[in-house]
Amino acid sequence: MSRAVAALRGVGHGFGSGPRRRTVLRGIDLDLRAGEFVALTGPSGSGKTTLLTLLGALRVPEAGRVCLLGQDMAGLDAAGLAALRRRIGFVFQRHHLLRSLSVLENVEAALHALPGAEPRRDRAAALAMLEAVGLGGRGAEPTARLSGGEQQRVAVARALVRRPALVLADEPTASLDGGTGRAVVALLADLARSQGCAVVMGTHDERCLDLVTRRLHMEDGMLRQTEQAA
């Protein structure tokens, strides 16, 4: 059996207080294992984003327990959460690449924050990852010269170059046309499978759902449906 990447038990979260209090997650139980590619679907406001931010160690839950990459998030301070995030890759709806840096430098940037970073080794890893996403030989180019799909592929390379245990992708196809979006998700799925990491992808894009191994559907802050892909 593959190793556990995340375990959530009775997780609840909300925003505001008093009459303006809004509960967005209720009693979430979830186990993620290495190698899984999970689609997180559901209507807007169902709690997908909040669940992703909890899995990304960007916030701690108000109720319940989150055990992430073998570490209980309870009691972690900002430095502890930042250290945890260094083992997680992120792909956002927009690529948010650093425009003043080259393609290669953007991918390398993900490695400089890691303990024991070593420039020569990092460069080799970044070049290999660019090769893997089909952008080998374009590392020296400014990011502005790339198409939207290529820029999102750089974002995928940036997320995976650290060989994270978990990758969180939030609507990674939303800014791309259908074919390009599907290609990016397929690339993410392939690379994640080859690295053995878990991927959770928040999405509204039905066209990519055949690429995932499991589908989680959320409504009103609860996981309504867990579907194992065929």
Partner: protein
Amino acid sequence: MRPALRFAALLAFRQLRHRALASGAALAGVAVAVMLMLVQVAFRNGLYDSALALPRALAADIVLVSPGYRALTFSPPWLPRAALRDAAGMPGVAETAALYAYSGQVRSRETGGNLSVWLLGLDPASRVLDLPEVAAAQRLLSVPDSALLDRLSRQEFRAVLARFAAEGLARLPLYTPAADLAPVLQVRGLFALGPSFTIDGTLLVSDLTLHAALGVPLDRVSIGLVRLRPGADAGLVAAALAARVEGRARVLTRDAFLAEERGFYARRTPIGLIFNTGLLVGVAVGVVFILQVLNGLVDANLPEYAVLLAQGYRPAFLAAVVAQAAVAVALLTYPLALGLALLVTRVAATATRLPLGLHGADMAAVLALSLGMAAAAAGLAALRLRRADPLELFA
């Protein structure tokens, strides 16, 4: 250097370069603010150097001044010549001399107007000023109504200097309220001292000419000069002399005298305060412009900074990026500011004939101030970094 810090430096420099056009006006503002600071320092130096030109030229190891003396400007309060005679008999004293300093006016033949001058009277046989041209020509002052003119006097004296150059002599009527009796000085030689902020030009005359022209009593000395025998200790002689002339004169060693002259302008007149205030205004303006550059940088990159935080970079890393950008702004704009300041200073020095200039220490001090500006602006801009929030990146 750790990879993260090296990356912070790279990112700061690249982002600055990327926004060079967008930040052009603010960067120019930083350069102008630093230039103004440098020019303020150059003008302050000009004030001090011009005010200290005569005190520095005095041929004295010890100086006697009136108890009410504050600085060597215009007509300082006098001390009795008897105090100087007392000094002459002190052990260790080689010789003494007197300087008479009075402000006056001369008539300009060219404009018909009056020019303010400093009239310095001395005994032509005594060594009073350590200026080579004065030493060579001061015997000419033995002839009544003779004068030596400071060749570095303001441009208003250009015509007088031209006449002297052409004829070897220039007549210069002294202005007195009783115009009929106004003596006419004959400029017979030149020397180099330089104008100050308050005086247009300086004329050197004999003590007797000064007495005849302005009725100055020769037993009232403006500055008493004491030169010591070789090996004599200036501090000890000054202390003994102070006890001898107590109540009639104040006794200062040369170093103490020069320090007091400089201190007068720095602390007891509003002039030093004005220049220092100007310097502080330059610092404040510089901080505002650097902050504008940094805020533009932060605002343009907030989502990218948020991604870095999501990747596990700490907020301190972003603060380091902003701080290094601030330092880069200070260092990159400084050469332009210095070049402009040297140009402005040269033009102003030519026009005013004041010894405006910047020393290496001044340049280093203003560079340090610029880096201080950068640190202050970086501190303020770092507050804006709080808006970089990875949670905002989610759809």
